[in-house]
Symmetry: D5
Subunit: 94 residues, 10 copies
């Protein structure tokens, strides 16, 4: 699970801001298409999202996150997720 | 998004603990079947999970969470999620 | 429940600051008139408020918050609220 | 604004728990009727609520909160609220 | 009880800084004379203070704090205080 | 400035609890009479207070706090206060 | 990276405590031998450690942590680690 | 620098408590005599202290802290300290 | 006990930075010579230190800290310390 | 264990940024070669790493960290580590 919150300098020219946001959306679509982003939701009222990313390992995650146009203005939180018996049908519910 | 962390008293008899965990799993399956729980993952190493629950409103969420056998031993975190343009195809990516 | 705290750059020209605050108030009145803002209070001594907003879902909340003139300088906190038996008259007080 | 989160000992007999919750609801109704509780909402999934209480001063608030049957098991947060120009129609929107 | 911590931009010209601090002191004296500030102490080593302010309600507190010359650079914390039986002589010491 | 929050075991017999609270009040009166407690207020809704204590040094404060009947169940916060020019009439308002 | 802090009930009989700690050490040796625990250090003065665990995925991590005799008394923190160019010799040092 | 805060169960018999505290003091004297504890101060009003301990390495610190009679009821914080040019007379004041 | 962490603007010219750091060291030496700074250590890797300062009261501490050349860029933490029986030889070890 | 998180001003020219990052990597290689950095990992998605550094004492750590080209833009966290019986083969598993 990846939390991304973007804080753009309030003095950034409008054009630059819009271009960055558009580039971010384009890159995001590529990652959805590639299956890297499984699910993604917005945190209402914030330039922030939380999503479930499928990657081979943390190295790939680092590279992919580093490829985001807004990366330099992001606060990033990464949380490893394990599968849940409710989704896998497993019995042991430790 | 709902975070549930369960802290069972360490002195709880083994049997009671196992029965509660099994009842929790059964109730969870009902909620998955009913479409209330969309996605759920485990936080590795903890008796905790994070999931995406679909409910009509917070009242329904309160009732459903209150129906969980482990509810009394749970720490609950609820975070409203908005849809993301990457999933809806919307253009505006504020 | 929505918490909004605004931090305007201290170097912002007075005029721009006053214009933004006035625009924010006008937009706020529209949202009160539209029933989107049910209740709103100020946190004394701060450029911050806490309010109860009625929206269909988190998507609408995101759009509405994004329409606030001060949005770019805001720290936003959103907390889902369920109704309370004291207001609904319900009996079960889990 | 008053936040109340109740943590009842998990070993508390069911009867005692139910009696306390019922007494709490009765006392709450008295406070709503007396106009002390203006608004109150539940925090979904928790034995917790957030409300707007109208009292003459903090002394009255202390006495009223102390009269709640669940007081001894409560974590209490109090936050002073000022009125907002959106509700009072005032112009100055500092 | 009001906590005020001021963070002035380190690049602020010395003169402007001194003028603001002097204006703040003058305004503070007015508030002490008016009985609004009952007690005030400094937090040693910081441009910060903690004080007990007597106001009719939170609205008055908001207006008074907003009148401080340093308000725009302040972090404000407000905590409602109730009287204590040790000061009122009351018996019940819940 | 001293913050004291008392957490008594919820299972403590009523009598013992009342006796402790009464003893605490008596000890508090002694400290007020001795000038050790200058000012003290309650944090509304909590078994907690904040006060200004005058002591020669931290050793005396430790001994005095240790003499409180409720000491063993207290969470203690101590914050050194310096005098403020608004109270001393000093000019330098660093 | 896995942080494990164990809090055993202070009333636990000495024998039971010693047996648990010994069992924990035995299980730990198995995990070191199996290559699951790459590195592990103690946090001085605490019944806590931080270690680098190599697992296929978070599911395996959950199962392995759940197999620790002290698991029920542990607070667990998991942090995904990516490789660093200083160790892989990669050039890009984003 | 080592912070030790002790939380003894409030139900612990008086005798046991006093014996533990006395044993702790004796062990502390040994450590002062051995030069392991350089400086130690009390945090007023709390069963807590902060001290500067001189040890060869963290292993020795772990063993020494583990030898304290109150260890099992302690929350331990360890912070590595480097020497300061004001004490060593060094010039570089990075 | 006083914690000082300095955050100098990264854009500050090298010369100004070096001059400030040198002035800080000179002032520090004066305070050591005057017995105001008893002990001081560096927090490794940071422009920060923790020290034990001996002052008559918090007013003197405020004045002395305000005299530090780096004061304007400092985050200051002050913690009152009481003497410990291990240093004073006192018997009561509450 | 050392945590380093770098926050470069977003307005820093690209060239300067790249040169700093390259210089940092070169310095890091020297420290790996010198055995000062034992292990180092990246925190995925962040300009941050966590590593195990072997130094004689905190003074050496301070000097070494101060030698890093990115030091001025770093947030530094240092945590002393003791060896673990699982690595040393010791029996006592306090």
């Amino acid at each position: 699970m990846v939390r991304l919150e973007t804080t753009l300098p309030s003095g950034m020219p409008e054009e630059e801001r819009a271009a960055l946001l558009a580039a971010e959306l384009r890159r995001g679509r590529e990652l959805v298409a590639a299956g890297t982003i499984d699910h993604i939701w917005r945190l209402p009222g914030r330039l922030a999202n939380v999503g479930v990313w499928s990657v081979a390992d943390a190295d790939e995650l680092h590279a992919v996150l580093g490829s985001l146009p807004l990366w330099r203005w992001m606060t990033v939180g990464v949380e490893a997720l394990a599968s849940h018996p409710l989704e896998t049908g497993a019995v042991d519910s430790r």
